[in-house]
Amino acid sequence: MTTQKLSALAKTIRSKNAGVNLITFDIIFRERETYERVKRSGVLTRESVCKLYRIPPERIADFVEFDPANAIKFTIYRLRPSGSPGDPDIFGAQQYAPLLDIEVPAA
């Protein structure tokens, strides 16, 4: 079965602080059918995100499928609040990269 990378299917893949102790990730699709296809595929779930980022399920604060924007969104707890010394990404803006290469099965 052929697959496509998430980066080829999504319009936007981003991460950003949601408050000082959370980083939220948005994967937004241009077309409803692509969004539905990714939802159905099961490649983006609480479980798959935990595995990709190697974090326990308790680190996931929320996981939402947001139909009005054709978007999948999840949020993780930081280990220490943003801007603490040693925090390499105060805005949480560069944490999405591993999502780009997720392989999505053909429809």
Partner: protein, 453 residues
Amino acid sequence: MNSLRIICPNGHLGFAPIRVESFRLGVAARPDYIAADSGSDDVGPVPLGTDTSTSPLAWQTHDLEHMLLAARELGVPMIIGSAGDTGANSRVDLFVKIIRELAAKHRLPRFKLGYFYSEVGREDLRRRMRGGETVVGLEGYAALTEAELDATERIVAMAGVHPFIALLEQGADVIIGGRSSDSCVFAAPAIHHGFPEDQAYYLGKVLECASFCAEPYGGKETVLGAVAADAVEVTAMHPGQRCTVASVAGHAMYERTNPYFEHVAGGTLDMSACHYEQIAEKTTRITGAKFGRAAEFRVKLEGAGKIGERYVGMVGIRDPYTIAHVDDVIAWARDKVKERFGDTGYELYYNVYGRDGVMGELEPLRDQPSHELCILVQGVAPTAEMAEEVCITGTRQMFYARLPDVKGSAGGVAFALDEVLRASPAYRWTLNHTLRCDDPLELFPTHMTTAGV
């Protein structure tokens, strides 16, 4: 009044200058208000802790000057929330001073300048805690203890619409706010003019980050929001941008955990039944937002506590064997700091760029380091002298790390700078909490003065 129109030129005034072309188009549309928030906790705890702005004075002045001249020219109010990034009292005073100086410089006819403060005193909070108030933690924070309060340097409370409305009722032409929920900067005038809270708070939600609700992506461009009794309409002012159903709906989830709910002092905006409709090339209409008042009036508090003075150092590594054993190199240097200073009383951090410097423990590829690495070293200690020595020991000792099979024996790392650099002091967010209040204005004293000639 059937609708009220507000333009927002900047989602974080001062952090990067507004783009003037789309702002002028927004002004030409003759809005009823010009408003922007100037704050963010994204900038980390250091500005609040050190009582500084992360935005340069020149950019703050640039944006305030454009907004003030346009607002006085049109004869409409101008509203700024979260003055100077943090909304601390010194930042409110700074913005009030800038407005006065600009008014004098341009010889603007006298106008009413309202402002309010947001700082909460440590002893005020301690009295409330001892009186039985629980200061409830958000997002994984435990309830506030007196020990954490003692470790806190400065606290600001996040205002809702209330102090803005109080100042509008007193006839303010320009308002400079302390720390504020960004959406309330826009919701306040809508409520003041009698529009329903449902629409008013949604208007705030969609305008708060200026052109982030438009596409294609491009920050610091002006957008115009219009609120009516049953709908909100938002229009991009930049010739190349549009507010589309996708861009507006997509913005609803920006920077928050759940895209359906937005919490502010006094209640929650529920966007779960929102309907989005493209009504013109650059305009989207939103209906169905609901605002629910909270049973208990709780205000969010932000606080920063100092950890210590900080120095940073940098090293590079090119030897593949050393790269494969970089953790041993770091352990060697840490050990030398420990020999000198012991186990505690300082902090030492290593970010290994080229391996997992950006993502740390979240990096899936940390076992595939690049052919060269840059390591950022941070030393934190109670005094600058100690922080410098912690940092330079933790940096320079990497040069001397003893790896069993390394071929190079003249130095284990490369220095671009054979020194360590003083950085901002290290702070941490100590407060990310909420406090119950009897009166929505009790933490936000308002003041009225005048500016101009």
